[in-house]
Amino acid sequence: MRALLFSDKLAFSEMMASLLRDGFDIDILAFPDHAADLTGYGAKEIKGMEKEDYAADSLADFIAGMSKDYDYIFIGATVLGREAATMLSALTGNVMKSEITKIEISGGKARTSRLYYGGKTVLEEESDAKIFTVSQGLVEPSRTAASSKTTKVVNQKTSKITVGEKIEKPSTSVDITKASVIVSIGRGIGKKEGIEKIKELATLLHGELAGSRPICSDYHWLEVERQVGLSGKTVSPKIYMAIGISGQIQHVAGMRNSKTVIAINNDKTAPIFQECDYGIVGDLYSVVPLLINAIKQTGQS
């Protein structure tokens, strides 16, 4: 079974290759800057594009032209990838499954899993799907001994949209999925300065800071890489502290596999109290300093 992989993000391509190379003969279509880095992840061939393309429609047109050589197409579930994969499905008429977390092909059918109801359930399906968007962080990327052939492909499809300036957001190299302690904040923090006190707690616990979608994607008080949830990262630390986070299902989807969950929230009815092991009902600005003091004291004893 031949599969073509694509993502506009290097880490996604590395992860997908590591996940899929045992079950499929894979080729990777890559942006020019990524092609060299992707050899050694088990692909037969790396097809380096002549230029980047951030327009989903022209990208989909281009991939559609190559798709007859492949049984399956896997695209990383980024903002661009989701749109391009969907357009590819519309163009080719091939069935598509979104945000898959597992795949197995048997008897020509694809058995896939993905989160449903905002992450409340896992939906397992069987379909004729040929196109998939793949959720992030499913396996740790790893190299193989075999190297890949690298070729150049010329992509010159036209788009209906004009892509202008790209503005990079503040970023961090911290990978919260590897942290064993995560101190995560939500809108309850109220003001950006409030993060300082939380940082102190995180440092004491040798943990990393993380946040809900409003904190990372809307206010940009923390980098987007620190977002936990359905549209962010899936984490499984030993300790997950949710501070001023309501615990909406889309957030819980990303932290459900944590070993111990501790919640601080001033609303007794907040859903996070259903999803925690230990909780304190109270104002985080009173609780966190007390907690810091208590940890410091026990540390000395």
Binding site: Y54, A90, V95, G119, E124, S127, I167, K238, G279
Partner: protein
């Protein structure tokens, strides 16, 4: 210059209850509410109308013709509503085909939808609409500027923000960062009762493309020890932290 705007609205179950004996969701006769990003879509449509004038048609594809969610869209500022029945769960290709079929019969400059929905999260509808209608997609727009027939957006694309533009007619998808959806005023809720509302069944043929093998809740067996006494809570949680982490 006034625009004809179509906004796609989805209704979702307000709360999905899990049956503890089967671990499966209970979805008979749910209470419906407007899907989160549909609210952002309606809000953006209303803001465009407030600035440039025009008419907003709210379009909802759903399983039954229950109207409270559509009434909310009208109360937020949509001018008329069209409810199409015949919805099938977990079939974004079908939903997009039904919506596109209707949209083609209407006059439009802009179609607005959420980039994904809070329950099924396939993120397929806007891109499918773009293809089925043959118009550009300006996706994940967190800022929308319009001049004449040209739309400029700032696109939220993971670790990048990207400036993009296209000419109308176009599909725009929005995120929760795009705006803060308004709560309808009481006067508008009352007035919405007089706005035109049509209900029709879809004529588009449904074709099943996948079979559900299982749909089970993710296990969560948390201890749920909640302290309302802050000092006691701090004391106990410090013990837990000490056990788990070397502090």
């Amino acid at each position: 210059m006034p625009y004809n705007i179509i906004v796609c609205v989805k209704q979702i179950a307000d709360e999905v209850r899990i049956d503890p004996s089967t671990n499966e969701p209970v979805i008979s006769n749910p209470q419906y509410r407007m899907e989160d990003l549909s609210k952002n879509a309606v809000e953006e449509a209303v803001r465009i109308k407030e600035k440039y004038g025009g008419k907003i048609t709210a379009l909802m594809f759903c399983s039954d013709s229950s109207t409270p969610v559509m009434k909310e869209a009208l109360a937020m500022g949509a001018d008329e509503g069209i409810i199409i029945t015949g919805y099938k769960e977990n079939s974004p290709d079908f939903s997009a085909a039904v919506l596109a079929e209707k949209i083609k019969s209407l006059q439009y400059d802009i179609v607005i939808a959420g980039y994904a929905s809070a329950d099924s999260y396939t993120a397929q509808i806007p891109a499918r609409l773009s293809k089925l209608l043959g118009v550009p997609l300006l996706g994940s727009a967190i800022k929308v500027d319009i001049s004449g027939k040209k739309i400029d957006i700032l696109r939220e694309a993971d670790d990048l923000d990207i400036k993009e533009s296209a000419d109308m007619p176009a599909v725009i998808s929005v995120t929760q960062e795009t705006n803060q959806p308004r709560l309808p005023l009481l006067a508008n809720i009352i007035a919405s009762a007089r706005k035109p509302l049509k209900v029709e069944a879809t004529a588009v043929q449904y074709k099943e493309t996948s079979k559900i093998i299982s749909d089970k809740a993710q296990q969560s067996s948390r201890k749920r020890i909640i302290y309302e006494d802050i000092n006691k809570g701090v004391q106990e949680i410090t013990k837990v932290l000490k056990q788990e982490v070397a502090v």
